[in-house]
Subunit: 455 residues, 2 copies
Amino acid sequence: MDTAQLPTTDEAREQLLDALEHPDTGQLPALIARWHPALIADAVEALPRDMRHTLWDRLDAIDRGQVLIEVGRGVRQQLIDEAAQDELLAALATLEMDELADLDADLPVSVLDAMVRAMDVQRRERYERVKRYPDDTAGGLMDVDAAAVRGDVSLKAVLRYLRQVRKRDGKLPEHMDSLVVVDRQNRYLGMLRLSDLVSHKSTAIVSHLMDAEAPAIQVGTPDTRVARLFEDRDLMSAAVVDDDGHLLGRITIDDVVDVMRAEADGEVMRRAGLGEDTDMFAPVLSNAARRAVWLGVNLINAFVAAWVIGLFEASIDQVVALAVLMPVVASMGGVAGNQTLTLVTRAIALDQIGRGNAMALLFREVASGLLNGAFWAIVVAVVATAWFGNTQLGIVFGCALLINLITGATAGTLVPLLLERLGIDPALAGGVLLTAATDVVGFFSFLGLATLFLL
Amino acid sequence: MDTAQLPTTDEAREQLLDALEHPDTGQLPALIARWHPALIADAVEALPRDMRHTLWDRLDAIDRGQVLIEVGRGVRQQLIDEAAQDELLAALATLEMDELADLDADLPVSVLDAMVRAMDVQRRERYERVKRYPDDTAGGLMDVDAAAVRGDVSLKAVLRYLRQVRKRDGKLPEHMDSLVVVDRQNRYLGMLRLSDLVSHKSTAIVSHLMDAEAPAIQVGTPDTRVARLFEDRDLMSAAVVDDDGHLLGRITIDDVVDVMRAEADGEVMRRAGLGEDTDMFAPVLSNAARRAVWLGVNLINAFVAAWVIGLFEASIDQVVALAVLMPVVASMGGVAGNQTLTLVTRAIALDQIGRGNAMALLFREVASGLLNGAFWAIVVAVVATAWFGNTQLGIVFGCALLINLITGATAGTLVPLLLERLGIDPALAGGVLLTAATDVVGFFSFLGLATLFLL
């Protein structure tokens, strides 16, 4: 099987839709059997809402479990709401512990209760161990079924142990590129790569071959920091330990990839005031209601700017050209400020700004705003002078633009730093506050200067 | 070693800066030895430009090579420009083929020539094999040093082969969780997981144990599609094949993680008209020059909006309240449109929109715009009526807002779809075009309606 045979999401959606609309052709079971659940999940997200449940009805418990894991939260909520409780319980029973921990927040309490009651003792104990840690920490990401070996044994003993595990469980833990090495007290020592295990003499001792430099992760580490660590170190898996270094579990890169994707998607979506996992085909009413809040926040912003303009009604009444040009000043400040805001927000996310270099950054951004402000001030002054035949108006226009580009650079740097200090997500609130600053200063400086020098 | 001892980027930067500024304490060598090159690279990005080269001088060739790989392109260019040619060549000689292929586009031709001339025959041949494929395809991502085994041999033979490889090369390829299985003609058959290799009898035959369902990737597949495939399938590694299924190389997840990060960062940065790898501390002048282009594009936009306002100078002259309220209409349309634009741009990137559901999406977005438009139209009509004591003005204001929210929804859906069809990146150009639409329609509808009904 190669990618030439793998349809894109859009092709998959069309094929599924076709098969769902013509059930008599019997195509659907063949498609479902051939496709990976992740592809089905992608297609489900792109299906109209009313077709999603029709497809769900045709899936088996294993595929249903995987689809629940793979779809975004908005779509997941719909599937959960529309499924019968016994269908859900059967699907949930097919999931691994760390998968279950990812979605149980979306389950109704009654299903959650029934699910835990249906678990055997071992599974319930493992589930409770995973649930002890918040979802957005290393503890929430880790798999507690880590295969660990002792440092003082030979490779031969390790191989024997792995064969036993495989016979007992029918398989080894997924995505295993290395084994965690611990001492007699279950304290973390290092990682033994499988590639070393298979290419050395079986009499060699684990602790001599293991990578003692491989980092272990404290159970409380935030998931975004875990992702950064995996990315920077090119890790495939890492051990999770408590404060005393005792082994608690193992994180593999596939879990980390999901965190990275959610983090990246989340930033883009939050900037527009959308939830991370917005369902494209959510019901229009709930969709509209969710966006109304964001529009309301921005409306307050817009009215504040309007109030500033209102202060200068008399000036506009005398020189109508002011009304024509004032949005240019406001919008250019917003655009320039947004460039700085984006750069600084990203640097904060990458943890690259601290007390030591914030001032240097502010200075550079303001200098850059000054240069661009001076250049474009001359351009707009010339244009406005030619347009309205009024040199003084041109000069005032240019000065206001210069002031507002510097305002954009200053606010673009300080707003995200301040929000970060206050514990507010700069990606969510940064744009609104920046626009407020550049609108108010833009209108005030242009109309204010005009009132002083033109009237 | 655990994360409690791993400083954040910001802490690392401060410690490095301290060590660089007080060379007599001798702290620097200890820090460099203790830290992973990735952490040093992160810190380099956050260092002021003049300190970067001072640090570079204190690194050995291996660390220099890794830092070059890990830093963003802007910072990389500075390091390359300031380094002596022999330093660069020594650093480049420490890199793997796929790493070299990632950065050679940034090297001056003279260095590139000298580098290739210094390679031994085997290394040069491998380099040329990698260079045959564009950087942004599976071929550009793959490592050609893949360890492949034949399907018809026993596990014992595989183990013997791996031991030979390790003795010959001193190590096995990095990040190996599985081996590629091929037939006598080097055609791809499947993947043999190391965890299966270590947990089965050594007399078992490879083709019985291998995962024949593991997808192979066509060499020309775009890197973003490769990333999506790894993410959806939870892959750790995959074989890369030509059109006839012959094995060419292997992609491991650490390469894919870099693609994902670049993709995510790129989208956020391009939305603000910034390059993907903008250096926070680039020289102010080149920084300002790069942003000037984006500001110029937006200035044209702003002047088009100003021209629309200019058409109604006479109306504003009669009713100054129009000038006060008109930015509210334009900005609300922009905010609403940006929500739709973000949602649709993301869906396009996820390949979830096609001919089949674009109309349905447009309909939903417009319906949502209509609902929100109706609601906020009433709110602003009441506010404006109270503010200016003019009911007709309030009604015109509300109607214009409604029109512009629908415009935002329509443009937010159609602009990215159209750009995608034209092969233009919606993340780059979408925002500018959307703002043009909502500004022009916002000002025109409000001032036009006012001219018709108020004067």
